[in-house]
Symmetry: C2
Subunit: 582 residues, 2 copies
């Protein structure tokens, strides 16, 4: 495998931390799957990384054409069974856990995130149908996706509504019933549809949010009136559905993933089948959205990881300058310059921290029967998505910086990684949306349960870490930070909702840093156990230890700064009037 | 003028703050020049902003071709006399101060930084020749640049040497003497040459760092052996000089500025004339480099400004969602969402703070006879360059975020502004290089004088601000922050040089934030004076006041976090060994 991908040892370490209970036998299979994914990622995904950036999807009268190498890579991916990775065996799946599935996704995303986006969406689409669809719908629409023959999309946003789904205007008119369920005609425009059209899968299954008109013909207001429909590009009878590609978005990065404006029902109305009950669309779609949000975090971490690997390699190969005070002798490898070490260490802390966080969330997905796990997952999903997107973009920024001028040229992948990663703070809900979700829904609306679960786990971690003298100052720092978060939440619970939400993004930042600090301690504890069991080397543990120290020394103290602002319930921003800007 | 450019009122306010002593009569002329620059920036620079990104320079056997619109814009710029803006009248210049000259540059950079880069380099090149060259050299090489007929470059880096100029290998062999001075033949490769070739000026004057071989034919080691040469593309006799364009760099942004690898002397050696004495090359070049560094800061601020203006406009025009708790009624303009206000306010604090800082430095350039001003300029130049580059990139990041998915598409300029601005932390010395310059040279090596000048000015500001009850908490916060900086510097002076420099970048970050906080207070004091004199509106002052409050509440407290790390002289990064990363 290419040395710029995620070291399989890192993934194996994380999985053994998060799935500690697994039998020894399992690991051989899982390790083999990880190695296979690294190999296909390296041989089929990575080689067209630059080419798919240069050769954007094009729109012609016959539809959207994407780089053929993407199709070839995804056929190889399908042949190896990866579309089926996370599905039960009765659905033709490999029955892998969510943690393992996301670890695989991380590797493919590191190699080529735009190509990996197609199967990520496809699996999430198929899983939604498998969860909420009828047996006939699963048979017809989910199984071909699990086999990797058809791809899937999610159609939520509309040009006028953006993230405000209650305002969507796509209309679904009942047309009767058939073996696939209640059939509707859909009309409306859907924006930002990743994989909305392409020419490498035999069919595309769109999951479309739409509103069924009320008796008077008007659309029900708000999100409660939203239903979810399966709208295939090609209908079961082989006819093309009434879906027009109204435009392609030309993006800063992520260019291999086609991104479309789709017009449903320009002529006779697009045929779609209702999933489950009417009015449940948002709740159903949240399953896919939450899966996609963790995937965004994983993808951001993966891009960060690859930038880290590339810049680490560059720092060893490139010689320039001498250490401070020196003017003679040969130039040193730039790795020797403390500033370069800072940038490498920050990248390590961000990317390994993010990957640990996202896979931790995945491990909660694997415990659907545990109330605690479900609540914690719901609390941490916006953090996994946002923290990873924000800080792994920063990691990519540092990877460019290590390369100097070269990093700014398109000769090196770090430039593209940065452009690709810039999307991750936007799609599947911007940082601001995630902050409102975290504070407004998960903490203030849903009551203290999930937050208390987090407190319990953080404190359990502190208790275990307290036995470890090497972690001395850090357990106190984590305890203090968490206490500040708790105090802030208590303050916010006591005030008006709008006031509490005014500074939600800054709260998310503080909360995210504290969560990542906690999981860094968990990683250290896991690494020490792994070392004592002979599974990782001493230098592996030292590297983790150093990244963790960096995070506690240089990053965690910012939590106090942010929370001071949030607790003070400042109106410095919310009180601004437009004429102060003009 | 286009409303996305820098409001002339902002520039007029800053200039009146920084040139308070000017006679009233002057302002009419200056205001007219600012208005003219806004108008040409709007009409000639802005219209090809996107096109020059899409249509990169190309290299053919006859040389580098750039977008013709760039040439047309620069002819208009030349016709209006802007190349000559900052030069004495006896050189054909307009005799404008550095502050006014940089304010003009800011406006052109906001409109199209890649086009503005050509005259920026040309003026700095001509100024170097005017300062250090002979009368004949000035006549021959500087005047045509001041007239805007010829353009200039600076040739420092080499592929193997990067920022480590002591390691350059370009060799200059003496060939005799003529009316233009001592003539040499140069051979060597120069990398990252902005404007290194193009087809819109009649000639290109390269200022080239090279080494004159010693008696045994070897090159003198280190930077002391470096001399500076004028190497024109076209020789005075009309012959082409021996300069080959070995390649064009393909960049993430800033694409309108051609960027070349130049091979000097592939055949007979390139003809060049020595400027001044041998061995003075670095000292001479630092004049141009320092000018360019402030220009980089100005450019970064300008890109940040334009992103701020565009996103402010978008936030008023785009309706989406409702305030927290609301589900009914029409969607509100996204400006109403507190998270959007946060992002607009941070942009305002970063970009107006950066522009204030850079123009403050320019005002020091205008006081060459004052020792204090020179020392302070030397101290603040790395800050102006770096702080502006880092935080105005962040501003551009927020401008994208306000646009949501649209901001990630190439349909909006914010995407390009962000890519363009990413260069500014790299060229003319990376952030790490600037940090070493600030701490290693300007503070530790050059002794306490410059730093003491800064202390005196900060304290004078505090004294004045203390009379203003509205600034109450902030004067204490600034005093505290400055005291922490002083304490940290004292600690660093007492330890070994390498130890002190290990965390130089984090020191720069803290120092930069403190300097910007100080200048924000200066801006507030100036704005209040301006309001009392009827020069600005109350809302202008309120806007400044809010951005200043944001900076003190949310940004300045980070100084303590950074300085704690620096003062502790942590080895968390410097102590890292390569195997901890592998």
């Amino acid at each position: 495998m290419d040395s710029s991908l995620i070291p399989p040892d890192e993934l194996k370490f994380l999985l053994r931390w998060l799935e500690a209970g697994r039998a020894d036998d399992d690991w051989d299979t899982i390790d083999a799957i990880l190695d296979l994914s690294a190999s296909i990622a390296s041989d089929a995904f990575l080689p067209h990384y630059k080419e798919s950036d240069r050769t954007e999807p094009t729109l012609t009268p016959t539809g959207v054409h994407i780089l053929p190498a993407i199709g070839a890579a995804l056929r190889e991916y399908a042949n190896a069974g990866f579309f089926a990775a996370g599905f039960d065996e009765q659905l033709g799946g490999l029955g892998l856990s969510a943690v393992v599935t996301y670890a695989i996704l991380a590797q493919f995303s590191a190699a080529n995130i735009a190509t990996a986006a197609y199967p990520m969406l496809t699996a999430a689409n198929a899983r939604l149908i498998a969860t909420f669809g009828s047996a006939a719908q699963i048979e017809q629409f989910a199984l071909p996706q699990i086999a990797g023959h058809w791809f899937g999309t999610m159609c939520l946003s509309e040009p006028q509504a953006g993230s405000s789904l209650g305002d969507i205007l796509t209309r679904a008119t009942a047309e009767g019933k058939d073996t696939l369920g209640e059939r509707f005609r859909l009309t409306g425009n859907k924006m930002w549809i990743s994989g909305g059209d392409q020419d490498v899968s035999d069919n595309i299954i769109h999951l479309v949010l739409a509103k069924i008109p009320q008796a008077d013909g008007s659309l029900p207001p708000g999100t409660k009136g939203i239903s979810l429909f399966i709208v295939p590009k090609v209908l079961p009878d082989g006819q093309r559905n009434d879906i027009a590609i109204a435009g392609l978005n030309h993006k800063m990065g992520y260019r291999g993933t086609s991104n479309c404006l789709l017009n449903f029902g320009e002529t006779i109305g697009a045929t779609g089948w209702l999933i489950g009950e009417p009015g449940k669309g948002i709740a159903q779609m949240f399953q896919m959205m939450n899966e996609a949000r963790i995937a965004v975090g994983v993808g951001a971490a993966a891009l960060g990881f690859r930038g880290h690997r590339i810049s680490l390699c560059y720092a060893q190969e490139r010689s320039q300058g001498r250490l401070a005070g020196g003017h003679t002798g040969l130039p040193v490898a730039i790795f020797e310059h403390p500033d370069i070490k800072w940038m490498l260490l920050a990248q390590k802390a961000y990317t390994e921290g993010a990957l640990g966080l996202c896979l931790y969330c995945a491990s909660l997905v694997d415990r659907p029967q545990e109330t605690d796990a479900g609540a914690l997952l719901s609390l941490l999903t916006p953090v996994a998505k946002t923290w990873s997107a924000e800080y792994c973009l920063k990691a990519n920024d540092l990877a460019i910086q290590i390369h100097g001028g070269y990093g700014y040229t398109r000769d090196f992948d770090v430039e593209q990684l940065y452009r690709d990663n810039r999307l991750n703070a936007i799609h599947e809900g911007t940082t601001g949306i995630q902050a409102a979700d975290l504070l407004g829904r998960k903490i203030l609306r849903d009551g203290p349960f999930a937050f208390d679960v987090a407190t319990t786990r953080v404190m359990a971690c502190v208790a275990e870490a307290s036995k470890n003298s090497r972690l001395a100052g850090r357990t106190e720092a984590l305890t203090d930070a968490w206490r500040s978060v708790v105090d802030t939440v208590n303050v916010l619970r006591s005030v008006e909702r709008q006031t509490a939400l005014d500074n939600a993004t800054m709260f998310l930042r503080a909360f995210g840093h504290t969560i990542v600090a906690w999981l860094w301690i968990e990683q250290i504890l896991a690494a020490e156990r792994a070392e004592s069991e002979g599974r990782v080397s001493a230098r592996f543990v030292h590297g983790k230890e150093r990244a963790c120290r960096y995070f506690f020394d240089c990053e965690l103290p910012k939590v106090r700064v942010w929370l001071a602002v949030v607790s003070a319930m400042t109106d410095v921003a919310s009180g601004a009037s437009i004429d102060e800007f003009c």
